[in-house]
């Protein structure tokens, strides 16, 4: 039954409005969909925020969800993409005992092999940072675990679409249409499936 489910990254452009996070979140919880990761940040356009939401679902559900999201008054646009269509990264921080690590691990090799960076080195502990996809950041956990990983944290996913123009042009057009009637939004809508799988 769940065979068609896969990871989708939803990108939502919004006004910067209190309560909007809840308005978006309840659209997922209403359908009992677990949000795997959620990131919110300013976008390249001034005054417009960008949500990056990762869920595991069928395309049909994701498509309907995006329409429901977009329908909310303070939301400009919602897109969804499969992992193949985007470049995405997550950041991870690892805290380990400096003593342990200095003695037992070749730190230099570790840093090179896993693209890690030491952010803080103190007598009692060292914090490493890596950026990458889930499997990459997971690998370093495995390596560090035997040496007493004190703390680990991973950020939400952030993603950019591979398409060369990205969302930027569209957003600009969208922006410039103010305060006139919008002619842009519906062009995407009218392409139906194509729109959402660009």
């Amino acid at each position: 039954m769940n065979s068609n489910k896969q990871q989708y990254t939803i990108t939502v452009y919004t006004e910067n409005q209190i309560g909007l996070l809840n308005r978006i979140a309840i659209l997922f919880s209403r359908r009992k969909i677990n949000v795997e990761s959620l990131n919110t940040s300013p976008s390249e356009a001034e005054g417009i925020h960008r949500f990056t939401i990762v869920i595991n679902e069928t395309e049909e559900v994701v498509r309907k969800l995006c329409r429901q999201i977009e329908k909310q008054v303070d939301i400009l646009k919602a897109y969804y993409n499969t992992n193949e269509e985007i470049i995405w990264q997550e950041m991870a921080l690892y805290k380990v005992s400096t003593e342990e690590i200095a003695e037992k691990v070749k730190v230099e090799r570790l840093l090179r092999e896993y693209g890690a960076r030491a952010v803080v080195i103190r007598k009692d502990y060292t914090v490493f940072e890596t950026t990458g996809q889930r499997e990459e950041t997971n690998k370093l956990i495995e390596v560090l675990e035997p040496y007493g990983l004190i703390e680990f944290v991973r950020s939400a996913r952030i993603a950019i679409i591979k398409d060369s123009h990205g969302f930027h042009e569209k957003l600009k057009e969208f922006e410039s249409s103010e305060p006139g009637e919008n002619v842009v939004a519906n062009e995407y809508l009218n392409q139906q499936d194509k729109v959402f799988t660009m």
Binding site: G19, N22, K64, N186
Partner: protein, 586 residues
């Protein structure tokens, strides 16, 4: 009401330095709310005062000659009344409630208004801004509670925001696919004085697209499909009424000659006796429209959303047909039924475009099929329902008698249950905005307060509230509102001494295990009398016509209770989980 005597709040900002614009004058946030109402053409407010909204009520004292305030008996009654007002008048309904319990009592009405696309602006009072989040007296997080059941909501903590926020509220509530908006205003913002520079109506919000731009190529494609169709079939919903597109709709169906069936929200958009009106869709709809949904070749859905009560089992719904879906809300396209041609836009614009492109046609043979099925339904169900021989009266014969007396000119407001289905099936309508019912949410208790609101929305029309014995007891406190505001609402209680619809399901699908559906009622006529409302109760067929006539002729409100058969069922019926073609006549 512990805060009611406080006159200033710590967050109150200093008045801006001397006004540069001569037009500006200093007014309170509360007055700004009422000024906004006047600018938006509001004439009636349904509300109930309380601690956190007292400054607004204080300001209202000076606006009594311009704004009518109807004191309801419960906030739920207030919001349903505003819904009735909006549905009867086509304008935005307005509600006042205080914080805490006042605000939470609006929840059912908000959910109802959202699912039935009813334009409302609800103003709730809130505790002082500096008390937010402290569990202050009558504080509740109404913004978060109402987020999933409002089209938009917003909390105001500073009076200077009020004019622009209210302009936004009215614009959002009434434009595009209408819906309820809730504005929560903290008490300090109501009290705060600020430089009021006039009111500017809102007609654009960057991130909000009330209606998608119409794409001609889809209209073209739709017209081609319609012109080629052998057995086209139209389903129409409330979108036709909300879009004020009744004329455009009529022109379209009359040119194409396509049989048209309605959802209960679309009822009255097309007169009952129109030759192309083939009846009601859905679970208790007419036989032909349901069966023929699965035989048509092109299905044209106009301003309707394929609710499960209309479609029955989706994987067996109109699979043979190419679907053309006209809707203003892009999220409705392909939500339940996949369309071959989506026609986004306001049907007031799209219908005339279509009408121009379609060929003039008649579909005599195809229309005859609907008539044949109707005859079958008359023989199996309708004849006996309207002309029963059993001793006990049927709801259908009450409706028949009522039709004869009103001639189809009355506004019929219904509650929820068997009587609702019977009323929708048999009531006659000559004009739009005449059927007011809780469609999507199925809110028992909707009927009485909605009828009160409908009367205020359409004061020149006869308003008949048809309510069951169960639903009436959910909001009968609003009889007090009728008493105080001295309006003329006819209340027709169809009493079967059961929660009839649930009982019907228990009979048909639960082995007649009648679990808690046997409901006793007070003497409704005596209750009405207590409120100074005249009434009568009958249980004999011979008295029916005269009793209904007396009700309609009576000057002022009147309650008529009609005892009907205890265990009558509503048929036809599409059992849950069945396809529309499997509709049962008994």
């Amino acid at each position: 009401m512990s805060n009611s005597t406080t006159t200033s709040a710590p967050t109150q900002p200093k008045a801006k330095a001397a006004a540069q614009k001569p037009a500006a004058r200093e007014i309170s946030g509360s007055a700004a709310v009422l000024e906004a109402f006047l600018e938006e053409g509001v004439d009636t407010i349904f509300g109930y005062p309380g601690g956190a909204i007292m400054p607004i009520y204080d300001a209202l004292y000076d606006y009594q000659d311009k704004l009518k305030h109807i004191l309801v008996r419960h906030e739920q009654g207030g919001i349903h009344a505003a819904q009735g007002y909006a549905r009867a008048s086509g304008r935005t309904g307005v509600v006042f409630a205080t914080s805490g319990p006042g605000a939470t009592n609006l929840v059912t009405g908000l959910a109802d208004a959202l699912i039935d696309s009813t334009p409302l602006v609800c103003i709730t009072g809130q505790v002082f801004a500096h008390l937010l989040g402290t569990d202050a007296f009558q504080e509740t997080d109404v913004i978060n509670i109402t987020t999933p059941i409002t089209k938009w909501n917003y909390q105001v903590t500073d009076a200077t925001e009020i004019p622009s926020v209210l302009a936004k509220a009215f614009y959002i509530a009434g434009s595009g696919r209408p819906g309820p908006v809730l504005i929560d205003i903290t008490k300090n913002a109501q009290i705060q004085k600020f430089n009021y520079e006039g009111y500017q109506k809102c007609n654009h919000i960057r991130s909000y697209r009330p209606k998608p731009i119409v794409r001609k190529e889809y209209v073209q494609k739709a017209a081609e499909l319609i012109n080629k169709a052998q057995r086209p079939f139209i389903l129409f919903g409330q979108g036709v009424i909300l879009g004020k597109a009744e004329k455009e709709f009529r022109a379209f169906i009359e040119k194409t000659g396509i049989p048209s069936a309605w959802t209960i929200m679309g009822l009255s958009a097309l007169p009952t006796d129109h030759p192309l009106n083939v009846g009601m869709l859905g679970m208790h709809g007419n036989y032909g429209p349901n069966v023929l949904t699965n035989e048509c070749d092109v299905l044209i859905a106009i301003g309707m959303r394929f609710d499960d009560r209309v479609t029955g089992r989706l994987d067996k719904y109109a699979k043979q047909a190419q679907v053309i879906h006209l809707d203003i809300d892009p999220a409705e396209i392909d939500k339940n039924v996949k369309s071959a041609v989506p026609v986004w836009g306001d049907c007031k614009e799209t219908l005339p475009m279509l009408t121009e492109l379609v060929e003039k046609k008649t579909h005599t043979q195809w229309l005859q099929k609907f008539k044949d099925y109707y005859k079958e339904e008359v023989d199996a169900v309708i004849h006996d329902e309207l002309n029963p021989t059993a001793e006990q009266m049927t709801m259908g014969e009450v409706m028949k008698s009522l039709n004869e007396l009103t001639g189809g000119d009355a506004i019929i407001v219904t509650d929820v249950g068997q009587h609702q289905m019977v009323a929708c099936r048999y009531a006659r309508f000559n004009q739009s905005h005449s059927n007011i019912t809780s469609g999507g949410l199925g809110t028992m208790g909707f009927g009485l307060p909605a009828a009160i609101g409908a009367k205020f929305g359409a004061p020149d029309r006869t308003v008949v509230a048809i309510i069951g014995d169960g639903g009436f007891q959910m909001t009968l406190q609003e009889l007090g509102t009728i008493m105080q505001s001295e309006i003329d609402v006819k209340i027709l209680i169809l009493n079967n001494r059961f929660l009839g619809m649930v009982r019907q399901w228990q009979q048909l699908f639960h082995d007649k295990r009648y679990s808690f559906v046997d409901i006793t009622s007070p003497d409704f006529v005596t209750v009405a009398k207590g409120y100074g409302i005249a009434g009568n109760s009958i249980d004999k067929r011979k008295d029916l016509h005269q009793a209904l006539k007396a009700m309609l002729d009576h000057k002022g409100s009147y309650l008529l209770e009609v005892f009907v058969g205890k265990e009558n069922n509503v048929f036809p019926m599409v059992p849950q989980g069945c396809s529309v073609a499997e509709i049962r006549l008994k």
